[in-house]
Amino acid sequence: MIVDKNTVDYVAKLARLEFSDEEKEKFVEDFNKILEFVEKLNEVNTDDVEISISAYPMYNALREDEVKTSLDVEKVLLNAPDKENNFFRVPKVVD
């Protein structure tokens, strides 16, 4: 896969990030280098290897269905950039 400026624009848009043209040029360069490096993995035959989601052979980290005390609403809202009647308040978003 070759990354061009369009790819960078698309990924930036998905991530809601804005960059200058200069930065984008740099990203094109960096992304291609990274992909080239990762391409090396394709040299390994993985036909019989199952997909791995974790480096540790772990499964079923589960908890019992028990209710514990939640945070006080004051604490919940500590990081809120804006609030109203204990709601988080954000610019209007309707899809």
Partner: protein, 475 residues
Amino acid sequence: MEFEAVIGLEIHAELSTKSKIFCSCTTEFGGEVNTHCCPVCLGLPGALPVLNKAVVDYAIKAGLALNCKINKETYMARKNYFYPDAPKNYQITQHETPLCSDGFVEIETEEGLKRIGIQRIHIEEDAGKAIHEGEHSLIDFNRSGVPLIEIVTKPDMRSPKEARLFFEKLRSILLYAGVSDCKMQEGSLRCDVNVSVRPKGSNEFGVKTEIKNMNSFKALEKALEYEIKRQINAIKNGEKIIQETRRWDESKGQTIAMRSKEEAHDYRYFPEPDMVYLKVDDEWIERIKATMPELPDEKKRRYINDYGLPEYDANIITSSKELAEFFEDAVLNGANPKTVSNWIMGEVLRTLNDKDMEITDVKFTSRQLVKLIELVEKGTISNTIAKKVFAEMFETGKDPEKIVEEKGLVQITDENAIREIVNKVLDENPQSVADFKNGKTKAVGFIIGQVMKASKGKANPQIVNKLVEEELKKR
């Protein structure tokens, strides 16, 4: 050209767990704003989600109830998108590996039994709730992290009616299995639908639209009727159907295109690195199987085979878990199943319908209905009076014996008393007597009616019939 619709549903059901899917906050509905929250469901950096075992139990149960295969090794995935009600900017869900797949539900259509395929059921977290107000959106994260199953059907439905029947049946199965309370008004059961049309007999799919925001069975059926008509008209006018998401506007009775996204969704799914594999073994599945109650289809067969109920009645009574429980309670209290069924199919459902109530709202008990049935069987009251007593019992929840006693409704079986009324009626209606003498047998019916009226419905109808005939002949 004749068209047919191709319909598939995506249903979200909130599971009946006490705590959320990845943290110990309560799932209770209706709490004060932002009071059921913690670092995990607020998506604070460094918080680690840990899967609730009961979520897996309930999802397996739903899968078994919907005849699915349970997939033994699955993992969670990240679905990335930006929306203020999703605090992490991704949703933890399942993508390549749903917990359950390849099931089916049978529905009773006019053309007979039809099987609707279930493609998959996966577990995921719910988002918070956004209220839009003026220039702002207000966010409450109490619902964030409430466990959901998403049930995706195959595109097997061909009419709005079938979609409704399927959705009703699915809800009933989920309620029987006890995996969700399925309260549509509280959003614990939600339905999106995909629909396209094509020339009848074609094997290809047309371009589909997705409809959201239908919060009742009726809305689902109406939205589909509207959308199918809209698509057919568009095609007939040579227009192209655009793949888009539309919203059902209940007040306008229309589906309306939602602001179309500038680019197609690109959720960039990848395995959730904060979680480990989920492995389910046979023992676990068997343990859940053992807790499975009798489901509506089995119950229906038992009512037909063991109780001799007509299929139609069995279908209606088992369509609601509570109604079936009411019926079985009455049978356990010693009443004849067919008599109970007749009462339920008649007075009970009719009154519930009239008053727009559910069986769970009624004031009287199944034991009281049995007492009422016994009063009729013993001959204490007639069927006609029983209906009056029922109406009173429905209103007040009073014991039927008490109502009969208070209102003096005991059936009159004393022949002398009835004969007296009959003669009084005959005296007052010489014309009817004359009509009878002239061969107009219809007059008998009128006289019987007058006698019943004079006795305020309390006279035993068989005795009235007999005595009217006797006394008429004497005249």
